[in-house]
Assembly symmetry: C2
Homo-oligomer: 719 residues x 2
C-alpha cells in the first residue's frame, strides 16, 4: 500500500466490476463511509490500530481491523507499535498496553465471551480500547466496533460492555453427506466432504467469520436425520479439518449421532443404551472423536421421531438414551442436545401433545451435560405457533430453543419473510410457569430456573448459493438469529435497522421503507398462508405451496385434513377441554386463555378451537369473512411491498435491487396461489360466497389440485 | 465516474477485498495492465470507443468495451459520438461509420459468425475497427480485441480476420432437473429450475458471456439420460427464460429428448417412430417448443444405450428414430444430434465395436438436419483412447465430435489435467479415410466430405462452485474447448499461453513453468492411471480411484477385468485379427498399424493387444517393468508439479495459489493410490517383483480393495 498515486487511479475504475454486489459479503461490507461528515470525523478519531499477540484468534482481530478500517475509512490505517493518540488498541487484559489500564474489575464481570469497548485517555492521549477476558471476546468486540462505523454511530466516548445471555448459540445444518440439504433452499451443502480434509474451501473461513461476527459459537454440520458414517474415522478426519478452520473464530463443531450407529458402524447386535457393549462402543467412539477434535462440542440427537431409531426401540426412555451419550462425552466436557421433536402415529393422541407427554415426566432425570432441544412450537415450525408447552414445564432440565431459519413453511428462499418477529413473539411469550414474567426467554437463558447451561439453536438457511441464503433478505434471518442468541432483549426493529445499514446502505430513504416491509413481512405471510391459527396445510412432503386437501396418507398426522378439521359446520382443531385438551399442558392462566373460545387470541383461534363458519369474530365479521379477508389482505400487502420496492430503484446496487424485485414478483404470484387454493378449498365446506368486493379466483380448485412439483427443492432427490 | 479525486482514493483501498480472487471472473479479468510501458502505449492508442446501434447484442458490445477498456487501461475511456483519432469503432457494415470504409468485399468472406479487426486511417485519423457481417461477429471480435490487451499484444497495425471452422460449437450439460449433475464435480447445476422462469440468476448472464467470449454458440441444458418432464409446458416456460438470456450472446438452447416421451408425457401406448400418432405427437410438441423459443436449436438424443429407450425397442434403427425427430424440427430449421455412444451387453461382441457396427451401415440414410455425435474414442472418455473408428467411416453423414471436459475418468476436479492435448491428439489423428491427411478434424469440420453442417460438443465441467469448475485449472479445459471448436488448428500450447495470461498473469516467470506443467499434465495422468493402453479400471459406478479388480457385475462390459484381461501370461485386450478384430474397423494403413503387435504405438499397446509380462518393449524393458515405470513415474511427475508450483508463491493471488497447492497435494496422494493399487493388483498376475529402485507400496492390496466411497460426487445420490 505504498507509492501508489498511479495505482490509485488505476484501481479506482475497476470498481464497477470489482464491487458487483453478488451478496457474498453479507453484512460484512466495509465499503468506504459515504457520508463525508461522518467519514472525516472517523478519520480524525482513528489514526491507527494496535493488536498485541499473534495467536490465531488475535491474528483474525488484526486482519479484521486492518481491512475493516482501510475499507470503511478509505485510507490506509497503519498498525502502530507505539501508543499514540487516536489509536484503536485491541487485546486481552494480558496485553501490556491494556494491562496498564487496570480494567480487571470490569472485565471479570463480563464472563468468558463478553467484551468491553472503551474510550480512554492515557498520558493525554485519547485511545479506543477493545478488550475482553478472553481472546474470543476481543474478536467479538472488534466486530462490534466495526459495526459502529458501518452504521455511522458516534465513537467519541465509547463505554460498551456486552456479554451473551445464552451460552450455546448454535447453527443446525440439515446437510447430508452427498451435499443435498434437507429443507435447504439456497443451493447445496457448503461442506464438500469429498475434497475434505485436504482441500479447505476458502468459503469455510468466510462462513466462520460471518458467524463470529454475530456471536455464534457452535455449529452442527450434519442432518438430524443422521447418517452413522460421519462417525467413521474416514469422515472424522474431514470433520477435524473443519473444526481446525472454525476454532480460531470461537466456533465448536458438533455432530448428529445416529442412535443405531453401534449396529451400523460397530457391528453390534443392539443399540440398547443399557447394554454395556453399546455403552462401551460409544465411549470408545467418543474417545476417538476427541483425539481428532480436542474441543469437540458434542452430539445433537433426533431419536424415536419420524422413523429415526432411538432408546424406545429397546423399551428405554429418552433420558436413558441421552444419559448414555452424556456419560460418554462428559469426561471431555462434551454435551448432548436431545431433541424433544418426537411424535408417533401409533400414538392416537393429538400430535401437539406428544413431546410434552413424553418429556415432562423425565424432568430431572437427565445428566447435567444434557440439554433438551425444543422447537418454538408444538407442531413443526409453522408460520405461527403458540409457544411450546414444554417451556416452563421442565424446571429441572435446561431447555434449548430450536428456531428454523430455513423457510420450510414460509415460502422457501423466494418469499421475503423477516423471522425476527416470529422469534421475538416466542421469546417474549409468558409461560407463567413461575408466575407472571416467566417468559420463554428466561427459560432458555437459564435465569428462570438457575441453569448454568443454556442454549439456542437455529436450523440454518445457508447453502452454496453465491449469496449464501438465496434470497438477499434471508441473510437477515441468519443475522437476527445470531443477534438474538446473544441478546434476546434486542427488538426485531433494532436488529433490522443495523442489518439494513450494514447490508445495503445508511440512506434513510431506503432504511425506513425497507424496515417497514421487513416488520410487516411475517404477519403478511401468515395471512396468505395460514391465518387465524391454521397450520400444516402445505404441499405434501416438499411443503411447497398450498395443499389443504392432503388426506389418506399412510399416517394421519402427515395430512392437512388432520390439522384443519374442516367440515360443513366449521374449521379448526379443538385442543380445548372439549377436544384433545392440549391446552392443559400450559400453566394457568395461559391454559385458561387458550382454552377459552372467546378469550383465545384470534391468531391462535383455529389452533385451539373448532369454530363455526358463521361465528362472529372480534371484528364483527364472521369466521368465513375474516378468513377470506386475511387471504386476500395478505396477498395485497405483498403487492404493496412490490410497489414500495419499485420506488427504491437507484438507492442500492442494481444487482440486488433486481434480484429482490424478481423475488417479490414470485412471492406475489405464490400469495395469490395460496389465497385462491385455500379460499376455494375451504369454500367447499363453508358453502359461502367470497365476500363482496373480493375478486373471484381465476382458476378452479381442480386446477390447483392438479399442480405437481416433483423436483421442489429441500427434499431428497426423487428417482 | 466524474469529479472523483476523493472517490478514487476512497475506493482504491477497498481493492484488497474487492478483488479477492474467487475465480468467478474466469479468463475475463479486466484488471489494469500491469506493464507500464504497454499500458502507456495502449492509452495513447485508445482514446475512446464508439458502438452504433442499440440491439441487445450491440448493447453487450458497448458494455464489454466500456468495462474492458476502463478496467484494462485503468482510466475512464469515453464513448465518443464523433470519430476522432485513436477511437475503437465497433459495428456491422450497416453502421454508418463502418459503411464508409467499403469493407464489404472482405466481410462477405467471413461467414455469418466471422469478424474483422482492422487498423485503418480515415481523414488522417487512425482508427481501430471491429466489424463483422452480423452483430454476433462484432461481439466475438470485441472479445478478441480485448484479449489482445489482456495478453499485452501490440495493437499498432491490426488486420485480423477470423471465422469459425465448425458451425455448431456446443456445450452438453448432464444436468438433472433436481440440480444434481451426472459426472459433475464442480458443485451442482447452474439451472435453478425451481425459481425459473421468474427468477433470473445473474449467473445465467455471466455463463452466456463467458461462452460468447470463446465462440460457443449452443448449449444443451439437460442430461442425455433424459427426463421427459423438461418437455412439459410447465418446464418449457423455464427453458424459454434461459433462451431469452442466452439469445443476445449468440447462444442457442437445445434439449435432450427422451425417446419414450410420447408415452410418459403424451399418454400414448408406444413411442414407435413409424407410428403416425407418435410422429404427430412429436410434431405438435416441437411446434409448442418453437412457440416458446422461436430459435430453439433442436434435440440431442441418447437412445438404446445403457438402458435408455430408443427405436430399437420397436425393431427400428437409429436412422428411423433420428429422422422422425428431424422431420418434426425441420420446418423450424432445427437439428437433431443423435449419439453414436451405444452398446448393449446382450451383444456378445467387443463393446468397442458396437457403435461402428450399428451406425456404419446407416450412413447416408439420415435426414439432412441430423448429425451423428461420436465420442472421441470407442469406449468412453478414457484418459487416452485411439480415435473412434467411425471418424472417416460415414462420409455421407455429418459426424459431430463429443469431447468430455468434466473429468469423469481423469481425476474429477481435483487433478490438474489440461485436456487440450487430448483433444488435439484426436483432432490431428489421420483416419486415412481418403488417403493420408484425412484427419479427424477434417471429418468433423465437414471439409473432408463437403458437409455444410458441422459440429463439436463438449460435456461441460461447469457447476455452481464459485469458480465454476472446482479446480482453477479446469477452467482451461472449458476455454480450450471453445477455442479449438473455433479453430482446431490452434496448438494446445498457444491456447494455454493466452489462457494463463488472461486468467493469472502476464509474468513470464509464472507463464513458462505453468505452461510446462499443463503441457505435461495429461500424459502424466495417463501414466499413473492407465498407461500403455489400459482402460476403464476405475472405481465401480462413481469411477473414483483405481479398481482394476472389479468383476462379476451384472454386465461384463461394466467390469474392469473385461477391459484389461489380465492373466498369468499377460495383460491387455486383444482387438487384433486374432482377437475381436476391432482394428478392422479402421481404414488402412491404420488398421495394419494398430493390428501389429510390433508396430502398434505403445501408448495403445494394451488397448489392441494382449501382451506377455516379460515381452520386451521398445525401451528394452519388459512390459511389467514399463508398466511399473509408468505408474511410479507418473506419480513422481505430480510431485515435481508440486515443487514447481511452490516456487510460484507470490507471483499470483494468495487465494488461487493456495487452492492449487491443496489440490496438487490431493492429486499426488491419489496418484500414489493409483500406482500402489494397480501395481499390487497386476502383480498378482505377473508374479514379478517391483523393479529395483522403486519403493514398495505402504499398504497391502487388501487395504485398497476395502476402500469405499458411497458419496463420491457425480452420481445420483444413494439412499
Amino acid at each position: 500500500m505504498k507509492k501508489i498515486p498511479l495505482l490509485i487511479i488505476i484501481l479506482s475504475l475497476q470498481i464497477p466490476f470489482a464491487l458487483a454486489e453478488d451478496g457474498y459479503r453479507l453484512w460484512l461490507r466495509y465499503d468506504c463511509v459515504d457520508n463525508n461528515a461522518v467519514l472525516s470525523t472517523y478519520r480524525k478519531q482513528i489514526k491507527g490500530f494496535k493488536v498485541e499477540g499473534n495467536s490465531p484468534t488475535l491474528s483474525l482481530v488484526r486482519t479484521e481491523l486492518e481491512q475493516g478500517l482501510a475499507g470503511l475509512l478509505g485510507i490506509n490505517v497503519p498498525q502502530s507499535n507505539s501508543v499514540s493518540a487516536s489509536i484503536v488498541v485491541a487485546g486481552t487484559s494480558k496485553s501490556s498496553e491494556i494491562n496498564k489500564l487496570n480494567l480487571d474489575a470490569r472485565l471479570k464481570n463480563l464472563g468468558r465471551e463478553g467484551f468491553l469497548i472503551l474510550t480512554t485517555t492515557v498520558k493525554g492521549k485519547k485511545l479506543i480500547v477493545i478488550t475482553a477476558p478472553e481472546e474470543i471476546g476481543v474478536l467479538y468486540g472488534t466486530f462490534h466496533f466495526l459495526k459502529l462505523l458501518q452504521t455511522h454511530q458516534p465513537i467519541e466516548n465509547l463505554d460498551i460492555e456486552s456479554s451473551p445471555r445464552i451460552n450455546l448459540r448454535i447453527l443446525n445444518h440439515w446437510d447430508n453427506l452427498d451435499r443435498t440439504v434437507e429443507r435447504g433452499y439456497a443451493g447445496f451443502s457448503l461442506w464438500d466432504w469429498h475434497k475434505l480434509p485436504d482441500y479447505i474451501d476458502p468459503r469455510y473461513h468466510d462462513y466462520a467469520r460471518a458467524n463470529a461476527s454475530i456471536g455464534i459459537n457452535g455449529t452442527v454440520v450434519t442432518n438430524v436425520n443422521a447418517n452413522a458414517r460421519v462417525l467413521s474415522s474416514h469422515y472424522l478426519e474431514k470433520v477435524a479439518a473443519l473444526a481446525d478452520v472454525f476454532r480460531p473464530y470461537g466456533i465448536k463443531i458438533y455432530l448428529t449421532a445416529r442412535f443405531s450407529a453401534p449396529i451400523e458402524l460397530g457391528g453390534l447386535k443392539t443399540a440398547d443404551p443399557i447394554d454395556e457393549t453399546v455403552q462401551q462402543w460409544w465411549k470408545d467412539k467418543v474417545k476417538e472423536i476427541y483425539t481428532h477434535i480436542p474441543d469437540f462440542g458434542g452430539f445433537l440427537v433426533k431419536a424415536n421421531s419420524e422413523g429415526q431409531p432411538g432408546p424406545q426401540n429397546y423399551n428405554r426412555n429418552h433420558a436413558d438414551g441421552a444419559n448414555m451419550l452424556a456419560d460418554a462425552v462428559a469426561p471431555f466436557n462434551g454435551i448432548v442436545m436431545w431433541r424433544a421433536f418426537v411424535y408417533d402415529d401409533k400414538v392416537p393422541d393429538d400430535r401437539a401433545k406428544q413431546a410434552y407427554s413424553e418429556f415432562k415426566p423425565l424432568d430431572g432425570t437427565f445428566r447435567k451435560n444434557v440439554l433438551v432441544q425444543v422447537k418454538n412450537g408444538a407442531i413443526d415450525f409453522q408460520p405461527r405457533e403458540p409457544f411450546h408447552p414444554l417451556f416452563g414445564a421442565m424446571p429441572d432440565t435446561p431447555l434449548m430453543m430450536e428456531f428454523q431459519l430455513t423457510q420450510e413453511y414460509t415460502g422457501f428462499s423466494t418469499h421475503l419473510v423477516y423471522l425476527a418477529n416470529q422469534f421475538k413473539e416466542c421469546l417474549d411469550a409468558d409461560t407463567h410457569a413461575k408466575g407472571a414474567g416467566s417468559t420463554v426467554a428466561k427459560v432458555i437463558d437459564g435465569s428462570l430456573d438457575n441453569h448454568q447451561l443454556s442454549g439456542i439453536a437455529g436450523v440454518t438457511n445457508i447453502g452454496n448459493d453465491r449469496n449464501w441464503t438465496g434470497h438477499p433478505f434471508a441473510q437477515s434471518n441468519w443475522y437476527a438469529f445470531g443477534r438474538l442468541a446473544w441478546d434476546h432483549q434486542l427488538s426485531a426493529q433494532q436488529i433490522a435497522d443495523e442489518w439494513i445499514r450494514m447490508t445495503f446502505t445508511n440512506n434513510p430513504g431506503f432504511i425506513n421503507p425497507v424496515k417497514e416491509i421487513m416488520d410487516k413481512s411475517w404477519e403478511t405471510t401468515i395471512s396468505y398462508m395460514t391465518p387465524l391459527g391454521l397450520h400444516h396445510i402445505m404441499g405434501w412432503s416438499h411443503h411447497y405451496g398450498p395443499a389443504p386437501w392432503i388426506k389418506d396418507k399412510h399416517r394421519a398426522d402427515w395430512t392437512s385434513v388432520y390439522y384443519h378439521q374442516a367440515s360443513k359446520d366449521g374449521v379448526g382443531f379443538n385442543r380445548s377441554a372439549t377436544g384433545s385438551n392440549a391446552i392443559a399442558q400450559y400453566a394457568e392462566p395461559v391454559a385458561k386463555l387458550f382454552g377459552s373460545r372467546d378469550q383465545c387470541p384470534e391468531e391462535f383461534l383455529l389452533w385451539f378451537h373448532h369454530a363455526g363458519w358463521n361465528e362472529k369474530l372480534k371484528s364483527g365479521q364472521t369466521l368465513w369473512e375474516e378468513l377470506c379477508r386475511h387471504y386476500y389482505g395478505g396477498a395485497e400487502t405483498v403487492n404493496s411491498f412490490q410497489q414500495q420496492w419499485a420506488t427504491l430503484e437507484g438507492k442500492i446496487d442494481k444487482e440486488r435491487f433486481e434480484q429482490v424485485k424478481m423475488l417479490l414478483n414470485i412471492q406475489y404470484k405464490e400469495a395469490i396461489w395460496w389465497r385462491n387454493a385455500c379460499v376455494l378449498y375451504f369454500q367447499t365446506f363453508s358453502g359461502l360466497p367470497i365476500p363482496h368486493g373480493l375478486e373471484q379466483p381465476e382458476n378452479s380448485l381442480q386446477y390447483y389440485l392438479n399442480l405437481e412439483f416433483p423436483y421442489a427443492p429441500g427434499i431428497r432427490p426423487q428417482w
